[in-house]
Symmetry: D2
């Protein structure tokens, strides 16, 4: 099929390569011209701007946005809309908050434009060689573009999840689970690191990944990470996050659901951003007040 | 090789079948005679009691205990010891607390008996077709019996983890991680269940298991569980536990390690054992006291 | 001073009595006419509607809203505004979300109306005999109406907290701390209840409230609650919540702050709303899948 | 009454002054001679060693141990026992683990010595001017020495809690609650510190301590701490702990009780002991592996 791809970051770039492998015609656009040139050499058509992309596509057009979640998505949609026609299909394959997706779908529907939300998992490797896709939107529209999803996903790796928003919602929850799993693994290795025993973590990851209950891709990645550095010596334990974990917790609260593991996974990430905490000062000061326990002083 | 197996429960029984597949000679004992007869038909030799098992084995003997952790292990060891000779090898393949293992190893060492601790993961299926084994003990002893581990584990699925106790310690931490992963998955599905969308959980598990970051054996099992019952309708959400999660948290505390995800996974299990809580009554009563908020009354 | 009070619920009613004690002239309005009659007998002037209230007050008017947080506050403000004049002062003494307060203050400022946010703590008893007030808004406006705050608060019990919104923000965090403290107390009593010892909880609360580190009003209330029922026998442990705890956690997430204790206090409340959980079913099903552990069945 | 006091640390020293105020005759011993001289000037009798203390007391003797929990208590008891007679009363007023108390009581009972466990709260100020005492042991023995408890506690501030061990158990749970309350307060102030508003924390503590739901001694101490340093600038947020919180969590686990707030309070203390964590490295490494997210590097 012929489609446009906006955004040639880590994920978008790999998705285009993946699409080209399957013989799709891809018109690309990114503000970074270097990335466009690179992908152009691989066979993608380069659009000068949104208008140009629209002109290079046939009606009803299929345009896939693979850009950072947030205000940028709104901006891009706003700039696209004047050039689009009734029946065109806009796909948001990024990690957008499902609430934004619901809002955008409503606005686009008024203009007769179909909005499809695709939660994309599997990292860069997945984008390149076979992703996991969770797809929300109108079912008839989904079926029309299903060949694309079938090609770029790993076998058995795409799912029509229902009405618009359900794809991004499912991806959000997937990432919430991912936060919890990663923190569980991390706590386990920290306990090993402080234990009286001396383990070879690459070997531990390797054996845990063969036959154990906790085997899976994350454990494979652990083995790979430890193969590069036995104790992750050069890495600082600062855990950044990019939104989905927070949204999962916020959604859990909205739904009055206890999700302590996902919440704590997120909060330990926040804690890791700081060297010292005001909360810690407060507790240390209180212990000093009532019990005369010494406080540690800043130098 | 020739070895004894004490305990023909879910795990022990399958391990014997696994050993027999590889041509090992296995002498078995269990208090349940029916289980012994069953396994006898598969080719195992039946021992009448511990003494008989010892006599049926050649020096230095190899005896594998696959029995419930706790006092029973001490009892069985105590009853075996008078019949054993210097250089015999006793393997504890159960989920024993590593502190007990250290104590037992010390006692057995005084009698010249080698103690090897094997953490066994992979469930019943693993025991039957290829387990994941974490093996602590004397390295020379390990190498002597390594062929056994190689045969009954999945490819790449066994590891010599170091001095005695390190196998059970590693298995304990493995299970702690498992608790965290399971609770993360569980929280995710609970959020889906309360969400405004309608998901087919078998399909969700299926797609998450193909190409996503959280793919792994637990997600395969989710798919299987949902294939039997789409909403797990018949199951009560009572989450039992069998020790390793608790020991992991206790060990984390001993090591002054923050392990919030593993701790909360365990505590949510405890919470699930109760319909109502005294803590809940206290908070409800307090809210009523200061704010006049109505309490719900027991019928 | 002369002021209007809208809302004669548990808090508003007691505040009016408190104001009347100090000789203030209070014009009241509530949709519940019975409450109005009741308070009328105590000396309050009754307004027929918002317009009537405005007419019964002198310019610049002071109107205190003591109504449930949320959409109702917006409705009442919208209905008031046409009758108000530049320089009038609107006070929101309820538990409004500070984000709503910021929005409302901005809208009212455009109309020349001062908006003052008052976080009110101390429960019904405090409203009646001396509350704790956290007051945000224009400092000059605060000073003009300070006599009101001074009278109805307990000695030393009011604070000008800075620009508008800061009062409700501080009250929100106060309630977040309250959630954490209450859950801590509740967990403590649950541990006692399951302990091998037999404690008299009224006596325990009494002694903890005399000389211990954890003495305070909540412990006084515990003693009172246990004096009515030694084991809170008739109360179900269902813990409702009314917003501030949730907002505190959401704010913590927005500020990338680890607040595990406040978050878990809230989540245990959510957990108490359910007899069984889908998360529990998932974990039980998984344990059955890999380990053959029996699940409990619904009858 | 006449009694011996072993241990003149922060708590013991103040308790002796407190006892002397009420006309009790106190024989003291501490390895620190300077402390003994100091208290001698206040009217206490100095013992050269345990034997001397025993000789200076009348049968049945009352000896109060106020020494750090752990092995030292066992050592001191062991050294005392040869000099004691049937019917003597040994009081452990320190923060001993109740399990140790049960063990010691059993051993001492075999020798006819009464063991009384006293959980002591209220900090140094309480020890000096009126503590909160939770007292376990034989009820008849308790009544015999009750005048001592009555004098040195604040009014209404002592409780006979039942059989031996129940005093230390109750004190342990008290401290668990204390951990939770302190962490709740600390999280609240951290949220304020990161908020868009500018609060004067001394003033906030002051107003929260007058009429609010969370008023109590800890909030008084907060006000005092902030009066010395508005932002606790000089203090490092390192939160040490001394055992009771850990024991409370361990006990909760033994009793299969969910105590997430107390557990997390403890774990955040452990987290504060470290600048960087291995868990953090693991999560950062994983994010890099699957998503190409940059890790922060150690310098």
């Amino acid at each position: 099929m012929k489609l446009g791809m906006v955004g040639l970051g880590k994920m978008g770039f790999n998705l285009v390569l993946n699409l080209l492998d399957y013989g799709h015609d891809v018109v690309v656009f990114d503000v970074n011209e270097e990335r466009m040139e690179l992908i152009g050499k691989e066979g993608a058509m380069i659009a000068k701007d949104y208008q140009d992309m629209v002109q290079k596509l046939d009606s009803p057009r299929i345009i896939w946005l693979m850009i950072p979640a947030g205000a940028l998505v709104d901006q891009v949609i706003e700039q696209f809309v004047p050039h689009l026609s009734q029946g065109d299909i806009l796909i948001d394959g990024g990690n957008s908050n499902y609430k934004d997706t619901l809002r955008r779908a409503k606005q686009l529907k008024e203009k007769g434009i179909h909005f499809v939300d695709v939660g994309t998992s599997g990292g860069m490797e997945g984008a390149r060689k076979g992703a996991c896709l969770m797809i929300g939107g109108d079912q008839e529209v989904f079926h029309r573009i299903e060949p694309i999803f079938k090609d770029i996903s790993v076998e058995n790796g795409y799912l029509y999840t229902g009405e618009v928003g359900s794809g991004h919602f499912l991806k959000m929850v997937h990432n919430g689970i991912e936060y919890g799993m990663m923190q569980a693994i991390a706590e386990g290795f920290e306990i090993l690191e402080k234990s009286p025993f001396e383990y070879d973590y690459q070997e531990v990851s390797r054996v845990w990944n063969h036959g154990s209950v906790i085997r899976g891709w994350l454990m494979e990645l652990m083995e790979h990470a430890f193969s590069k550095e036995p104790k992750l010596e050069s890495i600082k334990g600062v855990m950044h996050s990019s939104g989905e974990g927070k949204w999962t917790v916020e959604t859990a609260l909205d739904l009055q659901t206890a999700a302590p593991v996902i919440a704590l996974s997120l909060m330990m990430r926040y804690r890791s951003l700081e060297e010292d905490t005001f909360a810690g000062k407060v507790v240390a000061a209180l212990r000093n007040e009532f019990g005369g326990h010494a406080v540690e002083k800043k130098e």
